[in-house]
Subunit: 309 residues, 2 copies
């Protein structure tokens, strides 16, 4: 695979994902010019202080002018506004992509604004941490993680290949699928886990019988794991919930059905059923470690980190 090169790359939005892209793009020398745009002056100043780009603008229109590759990294609810804003300034032949966690909604919001001759290819790198903002990014974020492209029928194959090569140069592994299928997959692997995590942290916060201080002190017994996902960016996750509603509601229904069945087994003391479910799930983690998607250390390697620092 030849490493791709774009004369100018515009990054619209410079949070965790955008700033990680800026870092890996520079390290891998994938462009001659990184143009950064964000509406927030404070975020723009932070990006400049971190020296993430070659030019900075508080309006996306300026940044995307003459860009060969435009990457929109904003909460999915803002995709339409951004598309409308940048459309008139887009260079013919440019590739426009995004990194949003929902794809059907992003397509519905962005595609109608895209001018003839511009290659709009929705994408989603499956990578992140619970931190947000320009300072949270790092060049290795995409290393070994999957990036899913959901091109529309009839999209120029060469443009898809160039965008694919870009993500591979960023360290990603590449997949392509239909937007609706993507949204179902992400509903179970990402959206439901975040919603459940937010919910349980909320439940624990609201109890009368157990104090907040007790929840915090004894959190190492399991609870703290959930607080990581529940510390993710609220705007991003509000938008995901609003923009992948159907798939999320479907997965929530399945989850609740299974939970009722498990609750019933607890109520009736059905030890065999509990043991069977609890035995079955261990293999899933093993597979994830073997697939290179998880560290092969107990407790996420927390102990290893603690003893090395």
């Amino acid at each position: 695979m030849t490493k791709p090169h774009f004369e100018k790359i515009a990054l619209v939005g410079i949070g965790l994902i955008g700033s990680s892209l800026a870092r890996v793009i520079r390290r891998e020398k994938l462009t001659s010019h990184i143009a950064i745009a964000t509406r927030s002056q404070a975020t723009l100043d932070e990006a400049r202080a971190l020296d993430l780009g070659d030019s900075y603008a508080d309006d996306a229109t300026t940044a995307v002018r003459d860009a060969d590759l435009v990457i929109v990294s904003v909460p999915v609810g803002s995709s339409g506004t951004v598309a409308e804003q940048i459309a008139p300034a887009l260079k013919p032949g440019a590739i426009v992509t995004d990194v949003g966690s929902t794809k059907a909604s992003v397509i519905a919001q962005m595609a109608p604004h895209m001018p003839e001759g511009v290659h709009f290819i929705p994408g989603h790198p499956i990578a992140g941490t619970e931190k947000s903002g320009p300072a949270a990014g790092f060049a290795d974020l995409f290393q070994g993680r999957w990036c899913i492209l959901t091109p529309l029928p009839g999209t120029d194959a060469d443009a898809i290949n160039r965008l694919g090569a870009f993500w591979e140069a960023c360290g990603s592994r590449l997949d392509t699928m239909d937007a609706n299928h993507h949204d179902k997959v992400l509903a179970i692997v990402s959206h439901l886990p975040h919603i459940i995590a937010y919910n349980i942290v909320g439940t624990a916060d609201d109890l009368e019988t157990v104090t907040q201080s007790e929840v915090i002190k004894y959190s190492a017994s399991g609870f703290r794991d959930f607080t990581r996902l529940a510390a993710s960016d609220p705007t991003m996750w509000r938008d995901v919930c609003l923009h992948n509603k159907d798939a999320i509601l479907e997965m929530l229904a399945r989850f609740s059905e299974d939970l009722s069945s498990l609750q019933r087994a607890i109520r009736w003391g059905d030890g065999d059923k509990l043991f069977e479910l609890f035995s079955h799930t261990r293999a899933v983690r093993r597979s994830i470690i073997e697939a290179g998607q998880e560290v092969d250390l107990p407790d996420f390697g927390r102990q290893a980190v603690a003893s090395k620092t």
Copy 2:
């Protein structure tokens, strides 16, 4: 605090907790003799190969004879059987404790068997990983974690102090509370998180629209976090569910009630409500990190571990 010394300590059960105790007891020189007992010959051989103790027995009776401190580290459903078995061999004045995740049930199972003159003090170190067996233990497991004692009314204060000093010498911080309150606290901070994790991993495994291979490939987007708790020892967790039923069902009811409300907000597109919940939970993680109960690194420090190895 003076470091306590016991002539002989018996460890009944030598899994993750028992074997971590063996290691820290030896490192801190808390006894002259560690006696290890487990029913499984394979586990006993493994403990011997790891050189965890000074003597090994496949019956607990032999191990506890002449011991000043007996620590029972078995699934909570086996507590009663072990208590009945060791009772006749216990030395007058010995302290008997356990490490089980449920306390009211352990007291109900063990207390009736305890002979006059033996100090039975239930305990629970809030520490662990998803791994099990003698090889999974490590001496630092209890470092900075809390250990909760739930002594019965009228227990000898000097015995409680000696046991507390023992746990502190193992690196623990010490708390004392009523057994029923312990069971409610643990239901929310530990039992519910495990049950939810087992459940979501089960749900993902059963879908028709999303393949198992997709769940594994894209698990870094959130799902993989849950697989850690869901990889915990199935026998231990079956027993916890059977032996802390009431508190668990109470917490499950609260969780489900909150989840229904969240589901409703998603269905009706109530962005303000979603944003409010999602903003509220970030502070909880911050408090846990400040309390020294979590590593202060994004993604549990996975990136730090990966880049150091």
